[in-house]
Amino acid sequence: MILLNLIYFLAEVVLACFFFGFGFKYLSHFGTLGENTQLKVWNEELQIYERTTGDNSMLILLFSVFTIAALILFIYILILLIKNVRAIIRLRKEGKHIASFRELLLDLLDKKFHITLLAAPMTTLVLFTVLPIVFMILIAFTNFDSDHQPPGELFTWTGLTNVTDVFLGNATKTHTFFGILGWTFVWAILATFTNYILGMLLAIVINHKLVKFKKMWRTLFIISIAIPQFVSLLLIARALEPAGAINVALMKAGIISAPLPFLSNTLLARICVVIINMWIGIPYTMMTFSGVLMNIPAELYESSEIDGAGVLQSFVSITLPYMIFVTAPATITTFVSNINNFNVIYLLTGGGPFALDYYQAGKTDLLVTWLYKLTVDHHDYALASTIGIFIFMIVSTVSLAVYNHTGSVKREDMFQ
């Protein structure tokens, strides 16, 4: 235990060293996120304006987060250290055996095995997920946008301005947010349930005993999975253009006289993305459902047939409950991933058709694609971070609420 204390002490020294040598100079600016921009000084000899190093708000914020984490770790280890010392003193007094370092190590493989197992995942989780997320969340309370790009222009804390901008202050942004939020939900519901229902029907048809060459049909549908999604999406986007393959084909066939605005008319573009998403998604749901269908005990159907149930009734009373029960958690996952379905929207329409009444967004934009544009194209990091937080709140609330009400959670052991 004495050696353990030494290790703790060493860790404290390293942390203190990190704090004073590196972290403190950032943390001391945490309140303002930097005061001095880069300055120009004329250098007569070289004939250039030399730059003095100024503050960089982003680095100050980033390293402050890490320094604060180090401080918390410091305090935690300090508590451990004190506890340990007190334990040693107590054990000495009572004359009991003080565990040797070797025994403590062995204990990590035995009683405290959970600590050994979880050490690596927890450390990486904190370093690569928790701390960056804290950093991103903090950005939502600053004015880090295209006009405040360090090192030329620093950004600073602005409190809840971004939140009020989205909900109250700025008419265009509010309108954009709620417009996009509405479409995001419509899209997520349509995309999830069209795939769900049609995939299920397809699986049932293929699995029906009258259908021949089951394997061939299944393979044919799965081929569309073999092509990388982004390739097929980009190709379809090309084909849907006014001078693209589909319009040309329809015009040559004499069905239409002028090209249809597949991706430039709001309604048509929205229908297009839903339909193309079906084409991309149905093979997956079909595969899942085929697996589930093959697992339904045949006796159930046989006995229902003896009891005089028709095809429809056995579907409604056996197949459907079984399938919904098994696939409900997966469907929630699909719903959530559809809320954040970046690929289909961004590669197909790029969010377009763009709208004059939206703030840097189009009529098929989802919250997540809007967020992407705000960060990558417009450097509105603060606004994007705010929206990101809202997306997280919406998604987590919806999925938790629905998940806890599914049969698979409530009656976990029903189909066993």
């Binding site: 030494l6 004073f20 880069q38 250039i48 304006y49 006009d147 253009e241 430039s264 544009k373």
Partner: protein
């Protein structure tokens, strides 16, 4: 046992404290002088960003530069970052960005605001006089030169099929549309793109620029703008009109498209498709408020900038100047066909013989440099898409919305 540990512990402590105290980077100036005394050459490592297509030439020119400056030991790190991405990649982490990087002049405002660029203060007068005035203006901000003009061909022009349209036809948009309709062909222009649609507004005297405070100015919703918008709507409603990006033009010209508006980067593929029927001209005039008005355009330059975070600013400036001098620009035109900004190269016979660059030079009289911030593009595209979609919404209301969005803080 305990003593040994405390000694080890103290040792580690001392060592780590020293390591913390001695920050890296304090050692440059004196080391360099010491090296020079010893006869060793000063080692200079410069990183350079260029587009994928330019990499081979970039290497060639950098190596030539190194050979011509043997007094130092040069090392170059090449990064593949196209001009379009330069600003975004720079702002991700200025300290990690290249010492010398090329960017289109429309990114100038943002880069200067982020204090990313060194002013060109060494040999500034020579550079200003060696390059065409428009390119010097494009590389300047608030009267200060912030970069080394490299090309002056980031604009657009009219490509046409000589077998369908005559030189007389392409003088006016009405003439083009009449001839195209007669031949049953299409006229291509990407109206739902802020870059191209601006040509109507700019032609009719509207303003799109950035003032000295960095605020976007746009007056497309005035009377003149409305006239231009009506002309665009008329053009979009014409049966010969077709929109789409460059791939539509490249794929369709010579077949069902007889002419289209795009930049010099499609020149090679258009030439290939049209063969002997290839022709290029300045943009036509269009009927606006009952008069013929010349279409305006943007003319941009690619500019080399020197990163303010560079640890060898003087050397980086020398390299940037070298990469944009007369010889390098001539070589760049020869190897890649980029239109030079250098006066002498631009006047050379080879450049004058290039039909595309000649058309671009003709159009440049009606062109302005692109002083537009990021908020312009999406609303402008939305406006163009409305007209392409024949929605028939009130133009004045749409223009008001456009201007409100573009000039929003």
């Amino acid at each position: 046992m305990k003593k040994v540990f405390s000694v080890v512990c103290a040792g580690i402590m001392a060592a780590s404290l020293c390591a913390c105290g001695n920050q890296a980077g304090n050692a440059t100036a004196s080391d360099v002088k010491a090296q020079e005394k010893n006869g060793a050459k000063e080692q200079i490592t410069l990183s350079v960003w260029g587009a994928q297509a330019d990499q081979a030439l970039l290497k060639e020119l950098c190596e030539k530069f190194a050979a011509e400056h043997p007094e130092k030991d040069w090392q170059f790190d090449y990064g593949v970052v196209g001009e379009a991405d330069a600003q975004a990649r720079y702002l991700e982490d200025p300290a990690a960005a290249a010492d010398v990087f090329s960017y289109p002049d429309d990114q100038m405002t943002t880069l200067v605001e982020a204090d990313a660029l060194y002013e060109v203060t060494r040999n500034a007068d020579e550079i200003k006089s060696a390059n065409v005035p428009a390119s010097v203006e494009a590389a300047s901000y608030g009267g200060t030169l912030y970069g080394y003009p490299m090309t002056a061909d980031n604009g657009y022009l009219l490509y046409y099929d000589k077998s369908v349209l005559t030189e007389k036809d392409v003088e006016t948009l009405d003439g083009i549309l009449a001839a195209a309709n007669k031949a049953g062909k299409k006229v291509h222009m990407d109206v739902s793109n802020g870059w191209y649609i601006a040509s109507f507004f700019l032609g009719n005297g509207c303003k799109l620029t950035i003032d000295e405070n960095g605020k976007q100015i746009c007056d497309f919703n005035n009377e003149k703008g409305l006239e231009a918008a009506e002309a665009i709507r008329k053009f979009c409603d014409d049966p010969a009109f077709v929109t789409g990006d460059d791939s539509v033009l490249q794929g369709g010209i010579g077949d069902d498209i007889c002419c289209g508006i795009s930049g010099p980067w499609v020149s090679a593929s258009v030439k290939e498709k049209l063969g002997d029927n290839y022709a290029a001209a300045k943009l036509p005039t269009f009927t606006c408020g009952g008069k013929q008005v010349q279409m305006g355009s943007f003319l941009g330059c690619k500019v080399l900038g020197v990163n303010t975070q560079s640890s060898h600013p003087v050397e980086a400036m020398e390299l940037a100047e070298y990469l944009t001098n007369e010889e390098s620009q001539a070589r760049r035109f020869e190897a890649l066909g980029y239109g030079p900004s250098n006066v002498k190269v631009a006047e050379s016979d080879e450049v004058a013989a290039d039909a595309t660059l000649k058309a671009l030079a003709d159009q440049s009289k009606f062109a302005i440099s692109q002083r537009v911030n990021g908020a312009y593009w999406t609303p402008a595209e939305a406006f163009g898409a409305e007209l392409e979609g024949h929605t028939g919404n009130d133009l004045q209301a749409m223009l008001d919305q456009l201007v409100e969005q573009v000039t929003a803080e």
